[in-house]
Symmetry: C2
Subunit: 250 residues, 2 copies
């Protein structure tokens, strides 16, 4: 299951590490990539520190086909992502004419288009812009790195401009079967099914709720027929263990 | 603000990278560590692959004072964290008498205490157990690494057993001031305040909602009086920009 293009997400922001903000961007990117057949292999979260950003970015971009960063491209002093990305790539950074024009169009009153907002038009040399239909200030792509906003609604909107730029792989199909059976009771037969279908990744996720415990078994793979076969085996196995398995929508 | 003990979280699980599961454990750990004065510096998410776990764990445990892993310590074939941690530390792994006793007490019927559940008592050599008051199967500590469950309710319960083991630092105090002012309009004066208070980390977070836009400014630091002073300056600055600032509960 690894011939697909690979990707990593680098979340940039003190607010995530302090616990103030629950990151949801990496989950949104994971869900965006799955149907495109791009496999998310790693997520990292670092703070607003240039050294940490540069080091993480260089590690990830060397290892994976694509890297998506989120956060730190706004107008304030703590927005240092563009400079850190330029440093990671060893290139200069300057005002980008098209980015300036996009921002100037948004701020009709020249008094509103102050130096802080102009700063959002500083783009590393050689990068191409990523369209921001929400608040104009663009993201950018440099090499295999896509630099996106941290505000979730803007980040998601930027993904639409990225999809056509990605080499796609085979989407992974997934079927989930759930039952009120203890994970530990079916671990043996589950491992036996996994051993017979090495091309299917079977995940087992226990559920603890006020109405009792249960398990969700997830079969993931490229071949629809094979995923269906495994789902049927999982269903039969859960039934044999005394459960009333049901298939969950993915 | 970096004399405090440092920490990283390593989230282990294909379900997070596939987008199926929104990780909330790293946020819970961030909120657990903040009042203890332990600074979370990095989060990584990797899949259920031994090589990826070993490499990430060795990188993080060498760099930070504490590492917290979540996920992969259950009874099924995809639970490979304990073995990966043993490999990362270069130690053996075997059944731990106390862990076996804890699990045996939970599964009164010997037929229920099958080999898969016994597997949860396999603990790397030299590790100490972390109590699991929810479902008995313990986590463990080895060196500066705390290996926790992935199920959020169990993970959080395990944190209670960890708190007394951590060297504490100075807790960071945080005050948030919000107003319906555009971030770009106050970036200049905001940077001037930041420049005058280098010991306070000021974060600026734009808000986009159906009822308009706004900004939340967060002042974080060790000295209560200084954080209050900065919060007062931020409030005055937002007022001068035409906003009606309000202090948010942290």
């Amino acid at each position: 299951m690894t011939a697909n293009p690979t990707a990593a997400v680098l979340v940039i922001g003190n607010e995530v590490l302090s616990g103030r903000t629950q990151d949801t961007n990496s989950n949104a990117i994971a869900r965006f990539l799955a149907p495109l057949g791009v496999t998310l292999k790693e997520v990292r979260v670092v703070g607003d520190f240039e050294e940490a950003i540069v080091e993480a970015l260089n590690a990830l971009r060397a290892r994976f086909d694509y890297v998506f960063t989120t956060g730190g491209i706004g107008p304030t002093h703590d927005d240092i992502t563009a400079d850190a990305v330029a440093k990671a790539f060893g290139v200069g950074i300057d005002f980008h004419p098209e980015a300036l024009a996009l921002l100037a169009a948004r701020f009709a009153d020249p008094n509103d288009f102050n130096s802080a907002r102009r700063r959002m038009a500083r783009i590393p040399d050689g990068a191409s812009l990523i369209r921001n239909p929400v608040s104009a200030a663009p993201g950018f792509q440099i090499g295999n790195v896509f630099v996106l906003a941290g505000v979730p609604s803007i980040m998601r909107a930027m993904l639409e401009d990225i999809a056509p730029r990605l080499t796609r792989g085979r989407p992974v199909l997934s079927i989930t079967v759930a039952a009120q059976v203890a994970e530990g009771a079916i671990a043996g037969p589950l491992a036996a099914i996994q051993a017979r279908f090495p091309d299917i990744a079977i995940g087992s996720y226990p559920v603890y709720r006020s109405d009792g415990y249960g398990v969700q078994l997830v079969a993931r793979g490229f071949e629809p027929a094979q995923v269906e076969t495994v789902a049927a085996e999982l269903t039969a196995m859960l039934q044999a263990a005394g459960g009333q398995p049901e298939r969950l929508s993915p």
